[in-house]
């Protein structure tokens, strides 16, 4: 028999487990890693987590709608390649093209999922495979090297010489998505859809349109993320950009307390989830350990986090 103290502790862990892990890993990091608590570490964590966070935000929406989008990594690669290859026309047109590619892929995903009622994981798996192929075909499988200092310098801008430009982009993205989820009709509809699609339909919600928009948002965010990566890496590598990022994004969403069954979108949780995952990578790197350990750690933390969030308040 559990006391009510135990029960309320469980509830607390249920709701705020993601913060708990973040704090534990931050503490562990600062104990075992020399120079961990420094502006440089923070900057590293923030800059490197940008693509995961941007796609993770979109993934939060997709998952809360009862779906999933595993094609984001491949969309990033296609966007990256298209953007890089068109830089010669001009930076702005290239960025627009990169994002349009994202919208196109998102539209295809969303259209097939909503019209043909196919499992999102299957369709986005198909576009994930095909997308990676398209990205590689675009430059015959080779890394595309370009020289456009204005475009590549952008990624290294620091606001007031301290804050990387990526942080600003992330803040804007977080604000927009948070607003979308918490304050708009769309946000409520998405979560209603994820919780009970039949009831949402009876309530007069256009479930097709909402689903379509969800995947278009994923496409846009993947496009933005692909372009930012291209700018930071100063090359477009079709076989590496966004590779496996969908898994990190899903992990961040799960770590952040958004249930994979849909119905709830925890934006703040996803942000913390991303930071936790990235922090693990940085800690492993700073301790000169192989990245294999980072994978191992991420896996363990994910398992622990999910178990803790699902602690059954027994006897309920």
């Amino acid at each position: 028999m559990k006391s009510s103290n135990q029960a309320s502790l469980n509830q607390l862990l249920n709701s705020y487990g993601y913060l708990f892990f973040f704090v534990i890993i931050a503490i562990a990091g600062s104990i075992f890693t020399p120079n961990f608590i420094s502006l440089n570490t923070l900057r590293n964590v923030l800059v490197q987590m940008t693509p995961v966070l941007i796609t993770g935000l979109a993934m939060t929406i997709a998952i809360s709608s009862g779906g999933l989008d595993i094609s984001i990594g491949s969309i990033m690669a296609v966007s990256s390649m298209c953007c890089a290859k068109t830089l010669s026309i001009g930076i702005l047109p290239a960025i627009v093209i990169g994002i349009t590619v994202g919208i196109f892929f998102g539209f295809v995903n969303g259209f097939i999922i909503s019209r043909f009622k196919v499992e999102p994981i299957i369709i986005t798996l198909a576009t994930m495979i095909a997308g990676r192929g398209i990205a590689q075909v675009l430059n015959e499988g080779k890394v595309f090297i370009f020289y456009e200092p204005q475009f590549t310098d952008w990624a290294f801008i620091r606001i007031g010489n301290i804050i990387p430009i990526q942080v600003l982009v992330m803040l804007i993205a977080i604000l927009i998505i948070w607003f979308l989820v918490r304050r708009t009709v769309f946000g409520v509809y998405v979560q209603a859809l994820g919780d009970n699609v039949k009831a949402a339909g009876i309530a007069g919600i256009n479930t097709y349109a909402i689903t379509l928009v969800v995947y278009v948002i994923c496409g846009i965010m993947a496009g933005v993320s692909g372009i930012m990566e291209t700018s930071r890496l100063t090359i477009a590598d079709a076989s590496q950009v966004g590779l496996g990022i969908e898994m990190d994004a899903i992990a961040a969403v799960a770590l952040g307390g958004t249930p994979l069954t849909g119905g709830v979108a925890n934006i703040f949780g996803t942000v913390i989830g991303c930071m936790t995952i990235q922090m693990i990578t940085v800690i492993i790197n700073m301790n000169n350990l192989s990245t294999a350990y980072a994978y191992l750690m991420k896996g363990i933390v994910l398992i622990l986090a999910i178990c803790i969030q699902n602690l059954d308040v027994r006897g309920r």
Partner: protein, 514 residues
């Protein structure tokens, strides 16, 4: 004497997070009785059942089953002791056959392999002994709710259950199926099995049960034999004296409406084979009842009228203008509202708040450029929570944590807040307690008084008679006739359903035009 009681509970207590769910419960159930456990939603019935079946552990008190005391036990222990529950939401494996489900976990084996012949034969014999003739090799999910229930019962018998707890077994059955179930229940009783029967339908209780226990707010407030308690006494025990007075007043009020102010007129509605040439009309402020057994096509008719199902043919006129209801959004724009038959399936958004659920259908008008006005939304929600007396700990409470009656009130509010002209209510009082039911019936009357045309579907004939101005009787998707005024009685509805043959339809109709 002690041994005449199959179950004896003394001073049972159970708390959740410091809130008492059961308080000093004392209970005795005579062996071989059909014992009714009654009380409103939230009275503690489910908690008690879950303690008996080992899902929950008691905080204190003692339970004696079949003469010996049970200490802590889990679900498996309970089954071994002979306590089985037939759940409201049935638990079986949908893609397995009937026989597989009956012998799940106790497969009949020969040389280490499952002996399908024997299993199927035994399953069939068992079901036949209950008067059920089905192909036991068929998958479970293809069976009707009634057969599924019989299979659960058969399984209980085959594990030698001594006490079977049946939690609202009749709520998803039609009248004939209920009869079959009752026959089986009597048969079980003759075999010496004790039954605990939970139902919201009082006539079933009086028909079937020998003894009863009334729970209110986690306490036993009454225990007697069914023969010794009148309906009124029982209801006042269940809901307290004050609430009982409300129900005492529940008579058909004087109703006035302009029957020529037709809002919705529908003709030639066909969706083979469920709905055949259905036609109906509803006037401003009128309550039109749809009577018929489960599967008669009444819910399908409702869905077609709301654009949630596409018929083969339909001529639907709203205010005299022909409309095409391609989807629910069109219906909503045309000022229709629809509360579905099963809240859990397509009503509730379970994990969203009361606030979100209540304003879901009305959200566009509470927002500008897609951005929700929290102030407007809160105001509307608070208003409805107050007028409908919705019991919730707050607007942010999850829908799933509300009782059935309060969920229904939220769903009603969801549609009423869209200012509909026509409200389609499919079983609005199903599975909710007596008090909430009386309240909801009162609201429906009030809504029609405000000029909303209401299409009401109910399995409960008394309710239809009490509520409706006019009742359409449906069987096998055909409209059999209309009843109104003095001819609108439970008897005449039953007669229409039972006697009329399809070939007689035209006659009946002619005689029913006003």
């Amino acid at each position: 004497m002690e041994n005449q009681m199959i179950l004896k509970i003394e001073n049972l207590n159970k708390n959740f997070f410091g809130v008492a769910a059961l308080r000093k419960v004392n209970l005795e159930i005579p062996r071989g009785d059909i014992h009714a456990l009654v009380g409103e939603n939230g009275a503690g019935k489910s908690t008690l059942i879950k303690i008996l079946t080992g899902l929950y552990q008691k905080d204190s008190g003692s339970i004696y089953f079949d003469g010996s005391m049970i200490e802590s036990h889990d679900v498996l222990d309970a089954q071994k002791l002979g306590i089985t529950a037939i759940q409201q939401e049935m638990n079986f494996i949908p893609y397995m056959s009937i026989a597989e489900n009956i012998y799940l976990g106790r497969e009949i084996k020969k040389n280490g392999r499952i002996n399908w012949n024997d299993a199927n034969r035994q399953a069939r014999e068992l079901l036949l002994s209950l008067g059920i003739d089905v192909d036991v090799a068929e998958k479970m999910n293809r069976q009707s709710a009634a057969v599924q229930q019989m299979v659960s019962l058969a399984r209980a018998i085959s594990v030698n259950a001594k006490l079977i707890i049946m939690d609202e077994p009749t709520s998803s059955l039609d009248k004939n199926e209920v009869e079959v179930l009752f026959k089986v229940m009597r048969d079980l009783k003759n075999r010496g099995i004790t039954l605990i029967f939970i139902t919201h339908r009082m006539n079933e209780l009086y028909e079937m049960c020998d003894s009863l226990t009334v729970l209110r707010d986690g306490e036993v407030v009454g225990q007697s034999s069914v023969a010794d308690i009148t309906y009124l006494e029982l209801v006042s025990q269940m809901i307290g004296q004050d609430a009982a007075n409300i129900i005492g007043e529940r008579t058909k009020p004087e109703r006035t409406f302009d029957k020529d102010a037709v809002i919705l007129k529908a003709q030639n509605i066909s969706m083979f084979p469920k709905v055949n040439d259905m036609h109906l009309k509803v006037a401003k402020g009128e309550i039109l009842g749809l009577a018929g057994l489960l599967g008669s096509g009444r819910s399908e008719t409702a869905r077609i009228l709301f654009g949630a199902m596409q018929p083969d043919t339909a001529d639907i006129l709203i205010h005299g203008n022909k409309v095409k209801l391609n989807n629910t959004r069109t219906a909503k724009k045309l000022k229709l509202g629809f509360c579905t038959e099963d809240r859990k399936v397509d009503g509730n958004i379970p994990n969203m708040s009361v606030l979100d659920n209540l304003t879901l259908a009305n959200l566009p008008s509470l927002s500008k450029f897609g951005i929700i006005s929290n102030k407007k939304r809160d105001t509307i929600a608070k208003e409805y929570v107050k007028t409908f007396n919705i019991k919730t700990s707050g607007l942010n409470q999850k829908m799933v944590n509300l009782s059935g009656g309060n969920q229904q009130k939220v769903l009603l509010s969801r549609w009423i807040s869209t200012n509909p002209e026509i409200l389609i209510l499919d079983e609005p009082t199903r599975g909710i307690d007596v008090g909430a039911k009386a309240e909801i019936e009162k609201f429906i009357h009030k809504l029609s008084g405000d000029g909303i045309g209401i299409i009401l579907i109910s399995s409960e004939m008394e309710e239809l008679v009490r509520m409706s101005d006019r009742v359409i009787v449906i069987r096998d998707g055909y409209k059999l006739g209309e009843l109104t005024g003095a001819r609108l009685t439970v008897d005449s509805i039953m007669k229409e359903i039972a006697n009329t043959r399809i070939s007689d339809i035209s006659d009946v109709e002619g005689s029913n035009e006003k």
